[in-house]
């Protein structure tokens, strides 16, 4: 995992720094409209010095990862004051936004993760909640008409573009349609002073549409995997055995086929994560939610390399952690895997 992690950080770092354009001139966005007598060169130089862009790339990389803090607060043996022991990724410390110097990225990311993670988790939960019974059911009724209809419907959901679905949801359920759900943000300030229940209800009603749209993307895919997996398990010998001992179909599925089928599906948890971060760009922009996807997207439009570096690395690391966690879960749940032996993926 650690080598992969290093690979990822390196790739992200190099990719971002390979972006065209001079980072220093690019970051002048916030200060756009340079007045006449300003020494552009001097300011650019100041910017470069502040963001350590003058250092060779490999040192910048080490600074970014953490142990070698090049800033004035860095360790004494690097010429700093020694005020900070850790920096960079290792300390969840990404420096300031370029477009808005003085705004630290880490707390901003933390704040937005508090929005995106529950949202994505809810979406994922919803997706699993619907996909597992649906997938299992359509596997059980494989070859019959109704299961075919469900499988077809899953394909439909799979093919729905999320931006379109989001717009349709707003059109139908928003104020111009049935006016059932609010279509902006995640909470209304009107309930700020209200009781916990009111606020929870408020957040819930705000979250319904974005969560459903987010879930729709992974739902179909997940359900199809569950279906395939259950189908495969249903053909297995132990299911035949269980049926021969008088277990009902439902019992067989619940007690034998499903647990076995879900094992591989758990591993998808890790791979679904990056898709959720990517998908949240669209959903968060359409629903006006200040989440990590929108933050990354805005940083991208500003060409704020620091923000992009931070968000991309973070989501890659999250994914990796997700993969690792699902490996771990697999190992925990599957008695065939012993501790210490790595499952071959």
């Amino acid at each position: 995992m650690v080598p992969t992690l290093l690979w990822i950080t390196l790739v992200v770092f190099l990719a971002v720094h390979a972006a065209p354009g001079d980072p220093a001139s690019v970051a002048e966005d916030a200060l756009a409209g340079v007045p006449s007598d300003v020494d552009v060169e001097a300011r650019s130089a100041r910017f470069r010095a502040e963001h350590l862009l003058d250092a060779p790339l490999w040192r910048q990389y080490l600074h970014f990862v953490g142990p070698f803090d090049l800033s004035p607060d860095g360790p004494t043996w690097l010429g700093g004051s020694g005020a900070r022991r850790w920096h960079g990724l290792l300390a969840f410390e990404f420096g300031d936004e370029w477009g808005r110097p003085g705004v630290a990225i880490a707390p901003e990311i933390a704040r937005r993760l508090r929005v995106t993670v529950p949202l994505s988790a809810a979406a994922l939960f919803l997706a699993y909640l619907v996909a597992i019974p649906l997938g299992a059911w359509s596997a059980l009724r494989d070859g019959r008409k109704r299961a075919g209809v469900v499988a077809g419907a899953l394909l439909f959901v799979h093919a729905l573009p999320s931006f379109w679905l989001a717009l349709l949801a707003i059109l139908v359920f928003g104020p111009t349609g049935l006016d059932l759900f609010p279509v902006f943000g995640l909470a209304s300030s009107a309930t700020e002073g209200a009781g916990a229940w009111t606020r929870a209800l408020d957040v819930l009603s705000h979250a319904v549409l974005p969560v459903v749209v987010l879930a729709a993307g992974s739902l179909a895919w997940l359900a199809r995997h569950v279906r395939g997996s259950v189908l495969q398990e249903l053909r297995s010998d132990y299911v035949r055995t269980a049926l021969s001992t008088g277990a009902s179909e439902l019992e067989v599925v619940r007690r034998h086929a499903l647990p076995n089928a879900l094992l591989p599906v758990i591993t998808f948890l890790g791979t679904v994560l990056p898709a959720l971060v990517g998908g949240s760009v669209v959903v968060e922009s359409v629903f006006g939610i200040e989440g990590i996807g929108k933050y990354a997207y805005e940083g991208l439009l500003r060409r704020d390399l620091n923000v992009i570096l931070a968000t991309t690395t973070l989501s890659a690391v999250l994914t990796l952690v997700g993969l690792f966690a699902s490996d771990l879960a697999y190992a925990l749940l599957d008695p065939r895997i012993r501790w210490g032996s790595r499952r071959d993926r």
Binding site: T4, W7, I8, V11, V12, A15, V16, A19, P20, G21, G152, L155, F156, H158, A159, L160, P161, S162, F163, W164, L167, L168, I170, L171, G174, T176, G177, T271, P274, A275, V277, G278, G279, V281, V282, S285, V286, G293, A296, Y297, L300, L301, R303, I308, T311, T312, S315, A316, V317, T319, L320, L323
Partner: protein, 530 residues
């Protein structure tokens, strides 16, 4: 059971699936609509029988400036003392061509007599004498003044503006559906692959011929022809317009945001506002007038899908939008399948370092939020360096090849261990040759399935990009871009249809891929019991 050598059992099995058939048909229809968009929605008629006064007037007006510029060049050359310098000669020839073209136009209308002097002066000046260049200027002015009183009578001619406006790529696209049809009907005789090759080859050849010999288009500007009719400089005897007589870039601001005209909301009130303009205090651009060749302003068929913010016909834009979306989907899927198949096959077949390298790379790539990477790359691409559509194709392929690679790797691991490959290797064949001749053909099955899913996925990604405003360039529409431009709940008509087509296209590809998977995967068939 008889086995027909020309019948590919996999193709037959694929066609036996309803999903696959529906998918193929949907794709064929969408593709044909997109490819034939120029013939279905265009502001130029197929056939135009008309007298063009405008071109006559322009020819007359431009004679003098052309003559003057020729004179200027001639003088400059003379001053420099090198009338024969190639640069100057070329410029002179350029100007002379311009004059001659205008003379030709005038002569068809008025007879050669009035222009004889001008012709004489022109040939004299081409001989290189500066004085005759001055004479030419005088003669051109005389001609201009002589025709000032509107004695110009333009002849009525038959032209084909729509066809003239097509370029080689348009022609190729338009031929593709026919090529597909031809290939399908020839598949029994030639085999599907060869039939496709022949059909597409002839399409390319035809398109190339058209590209080489095509004439330059009159009325190249969007709506220019209709505007000319409105100004009265074009007198039309007869014109056949396409079913949707609107260009995809043809604006009509008086009809901005008009809902579909067959809806009550699409009717106009006395001042030309549609009920969608709810604030009556907003000034109206006046009651819009139907331009030449268009359905009447009140007709239900005028804008079946309404108009956008610039009054452009959404139906026309949606038709044209498919060109970008579908093409990018197929190209990106082709590229990523190629990359994935090659890398996957190499990894599975060569093993060792190659396998480790590819597998690690896949692992790393999988960890990235792919869509976000695509966003970054597109947002930062300088369109002058890489055109946006190509950038999209490249980037989608760059992040999307992993699933194909994994599938092909697994398959080629299996194939590489199989007897005939082992035998081939034992015979001492070069590994690359074994790879190409034995491993790839066998591992191509899963790659084909992945291709279908990838094409659908690429259409989705391209649409999302365009929706976020990072897609094609003005004024070219793409489905996602159309949705993104309109997006408001109040203009649902402008984004529902293009979004629906994205959905249909993705769905069709997924259906095809699904059917292909079932057709290729022997496990999907029910095995007879022992």
């Amino acid at each position: 059971m008889t086995v027909d050598a020309r019948r590919n059992p996999r193709v037959e099995r694929f066609l036996a699936r309803r999903g696959g058939r529906i998918g193929i048909w949907t794709l064929a229809i969408l593709g044909t609509l997109a490819a034939w968009a120029p013939f279905l929605a265009n502001d130029r008629p197929y056939v135009l029988v008309a007298a063009d006064r405008g071109s006559l007037e322009r020819a007359r007006d431009e004679l003098a400036p052309l003559a003057e510029s020729l004179a200027r060049i001639a003088h400059a050359a003379e001053d420099a003392g090198n009338a024969a310098s190639p640069g100057a000669r070329e410029s002179i020839a350029d100007e002379a061509r311009g004059i001659e073209a205008r003379l030709g136009v005038l002569e068809t209308a008025t007879g050669a007599a009035a222009l004889a002097e001008l012709r004489r002066a022109l040939s004299a000046s081409r001989a290189g004498s500066a004085r005759s260049a001055d004479e030419l200027v005088t003669a051109a002015r005389t001609v201009r003044d002589a025709f000032a009183d509107g004695r110009l009578v333009p002849p009525t001619v038959r032209t084909f503006p729509l066809f003239a406006s097509l370029d080689a790529l348009d022609v190729f696209c338009a031929l593709l559906p026919l090529a597909g049809l031809a290939a399908w009907s020839l598949r029994r005789r030639l085999g599907l692959g060869r039939a496709l090759l022949v059909a597409c080859g002839s399409a390319v050849a035809l398109a190339a011929i058209v590209g080489i010999f095509a004439e330059k288009a009159p009325f190249a500007a969007p709506g220019a022809l209709k505007a000319a009719v409105a100004r009265g400089v074009l007198q039309v005897d007869q014109a056949w317009f396409p079913p949707i007589p609107f260009g995809y870039a043809e604006t009509n601001l008086a009809e901005a945001w008009r809902p579909p005209t067959w809806l009550p909301a699409g009717r106009l009130d006395a001042e030309g506002r549609s009920p969608s303009t709810r604030d009556v205090s907003a000034p109206s651009a006046g009651r819009p007038a139907a331009r030449y060749g268009e359905p009447a302003i009140e007709s239900s068929w005028r804008h079946v899908l309404g108009t956008d913010a610039l009054g452009r016909d959404v139906a026309a834009r949606t038709l044209w939008g498919g060109r970008i979306s579908l093409t990018i989907g197929v190209l990106a899927a082709l590229l990523l399948s190629a990359i994935g198949a090659l890398l996957g096959a190499a990894a599975g077949f060569l093993g060792g370092v190659a396998d480790t390298l590819v597998s690690r790379t896949i692992e790393v790539v999988l960890c990235f939020p792919a869509f976000f990477l695509v966003l970054c790359a597109i947002a930062w691409t300088d369109p002058d360096v890489v055109p946006v559509p190509f950038a999209i194709v490249l980037v989608i392929a760059a992040v999307g090849w992993t699933s194909t690679a994994r599938l092909v790797r697994a398959e080629s691991l299996r194939v590489a261990a199989s007897d005939h490959v082992l035998a081939a290797r034992a015979l001492g064949l070069h590994p690359a040759r074994v790879l190409v001749r034995h491993v790839l053909p066998n591992a191509i099955g899963p790659a084909l399935v992945a291709f279908g899913f990838a094409a659908g996925g690429a259409i989705g990604v391209e649409s999302s990009l365009a929706f976020l405003g990072l897609g094609a360039q003005v004024p070219l529409p793409s489905w996602g871009g159309l949705v993104g431009e309109a997006r408001g709940a109040d203009q649902a008509w402008a984004w529902i249809a293009p979004g629906m087509l994205v959905f249909l296209a993705v769905l069709a590809w997924v259906l095809v891929a699904e059917a292909a998977r079932e057709a290729l995967d022997p496990r999907a068939a029910v095995e007879p019991s022992p």
